[in-house]
Symmetry: C2
DNA sequence: CTGAAAGCGCTAACAA
DNA sequence: TTGTTAGCGCTTTCAG
């Protein structure tokens, strides 16, 4: 049997000629080393018990020599594990990754999963199209990580769909939904962060604050609005919501300009993220207004590269990268133990005090 | 045999109790529909010939009813395809994705691969650690996409290592290496773009130009420097290279400040990317210098969100997203035909003329 | 038009 | 300490 397989392999590489060399299988290694496939398997997987030093060394040498790399498919089929996690990011833009929050989330998730021996399958999904995503149509990952967007109803549809797949689901940055079996929620306290920022803003005794928000509904933004409202309602401060297309700088500038043209100047402008806040500073400066003397400005996120502002931006620091590593750890634990220890994790947020308010 | 498998499945779901329901297999579907697994397979894979309408409808109904999702592992083992491509991004920072170039590259690659039915396995790899990456240690993807960084020698080591794996290799953004079997290079014309920008700068008749570069060596940056040098040497313009840690805004600002403190003011400052150029504008403005009247400033990339500058930045537009989609298409074609049609693709670059030079 | 059967590469239980 | 063997879920001839 060994020699037969070995023959297959040798024939394969000769027959195909110009074709790429066939990857050696565990059988080829076993045959060359004169041991069984079981022995090779044990050596390759570092099983300590029941392998003599000599055999181990021999097999390791043959493995190196033949350039053998275990085929994950065979292993996965046998262990009934995919060794991978899917991340579905719901976003209308094909450049879904351009948002620094997403970027940092993906980096954290990817790094931590890789460390633990898992792969990350990345999918940008247009709203309403989750059902067509290959993560959903096929069984190809051990768990699904979902970053929803859109209004709450749409997000709940996404979550139910993903949950119905019968595999562990980790929802990033959305409020828990009742009776969602086998789901775990991982989020940051955007509401608390916004409230802390609002309290800070209260030192200026503002009457009116404008918040510039994207026209795509993100759960984080809803919570940021809720956090402001919580403080501002109590204090009798009016909150104006100004919507814009955040994917274009000109659109952001235009929206801010239009708002300033048609309203009395607010006491403060907050962006739903730092890019928008920086744009606001520039529009204000361009109109001869001084930040923070005339108008306070603040943002959200504090990611490197988005913080190049003069004056330094006061902003709520997001923890997207840690959201990613946290989610990864939870997934790995869930896959190991068979259950979620907790089903709701919330990372606290802090305000970075720049000089823009 | 069918009923035996079916029994397994039923038992499985009952025995496990609180455990997650076992995913139905093709055998379970076949048993429930009263057909063979071969028939189910054909229906699921949309094979048109030799399936009666009635059978198709029946099987489809059972598939829906049971929530059957084909297990990719079984399929992959049989077809000897992984259905996935690995992307190894060599970068010293764990936040490798934060760079907008990388971000856009990944978005393009991911979207196009997903469209063509492939997954993308994302790996951030620290320099010199490629050999430990699971993409390298295991056979788990059909092709590897490599985005090298570091000095040329280090990059060549990475490329040789990846090429030696015996599977198709696509190198993003590096100069072709001779005798690298089964590799294809996909890049943008950074050198040409830089030269075009340099020509534009010549209208100001500069004597000295400072280029702010990161201390990590990226192939793109080398080419940008080469493009400048090509024009500036001909014209007798001096090019100063100022290195900084580009991952920190303060480091960028400090480096520019130190340079300006210790040298006569240059006629122009170019950043290796737009973030750096924007920082330069702010440092200059803070010193009471006017851009572009006193000093011209320009950058590279023109990605959305990094272009919030006053005045609008003159910059060379990168095509990272298209680099990604192009690489994806090449990979898919290579996997289909068994060979690369070309082994070197170069996307031309254009200058966006803002008002900063 | 449908089904039986072989086998993809690997692991783990069990036998030797 | 090592080897034999039985599949993991699926596709694909080939026979009916």
């Amino acid at each position: 049997m060994h020699s037969c397989r070995q023959l297959d392999y040798e024939l394969g590489s000769e027959k195909r000629g110009c074709q790429m060399k066939t990857q050696p299988t565990i059988h080829a290694v076993a045959a060359r080393a004169g041991v069984s496939t079981a022995t090779v398997s044990k050596v390759v997987n570092g099983v300590e018990t029941g392998i003599s030093k000599a055999t181990r060394l021999l097999v390791e040498a043959v493995v190196r020599d033949m350039g053998y790399r275990p085929n994950r498919i065979g292993r996965n089929l046998r262990t009934r594990r995919h060794g991978a996690v899917g991340l579905a990011i719901i976003d209308p833009s094909p450049r879904f990754l351009a948002d620094p929050f997403t970027t940092n989330l993906v980096a954290g998730l990817s790094n931590q999963l890789n460390t633990d021996g898992f792969g990350l399958l990345l999918h940008g999904v247009r709203p309403g199209r989750l059902k067509d995503c290959s993560l959903v149509r096929n069984s190809e990952v051990d768990a699904i990580c979902l970053n929803p967007s859109g209004d709450r109803e749409e997000r709940i549809r996404s979550m139910r769909l993903a949950s119905g797949l019968g595999q562990p689901l980790i929802v990033i940055q959305d409020q828990p939904v009742a009776d969602l079996p086998n789901a775990c929620f991982v989020r940051q306290d955007d509401r608390g962060g916004a409230a802390a920022l609002a309290e800070l803003l209260m030192h200026r005794d503002p009457k009116r604050v404008a918040m510039i928000v994207a026209d795509v509904a993100w759960p984080a933004v809803e919570n940021r609005i809720a956090g402001f409202t919580q403080v501002f309602e109590r204090e009798g401060v009016q909150l104006d919501l100004v919507a814009c297309d955040e994917t274009s700088n000109t659109a952001i500038n235009d929206a801010i300009t239009r708002y300033l043209d048609s309203h009395d100047a607010p006491d403060a402008i907050v962006g739903q993220n730092d890019q928008i806040a920086i744009a606001a500073i520039q529009v204000l400066t361009g109109r001869g207004l001084s930040v923070p003397d005339d108008i306070a400005v603040s943002g959200f996120n504090a990611f490197p590269f988005t913080g190049v502002a003069v004056p330094p931006l006061t902003t709520v620091c997001s923890r997207a990268y840690e959201l990613g590593t946290t989610a990864a750890r939870i997934i790995v634990e869930r896959l190991g133990t068979g259950r979620f220890a907790e089903t709701d994790y919330m990372l606290p947020l802090e305000v970075f005090e720049g000089r823009s308010i």
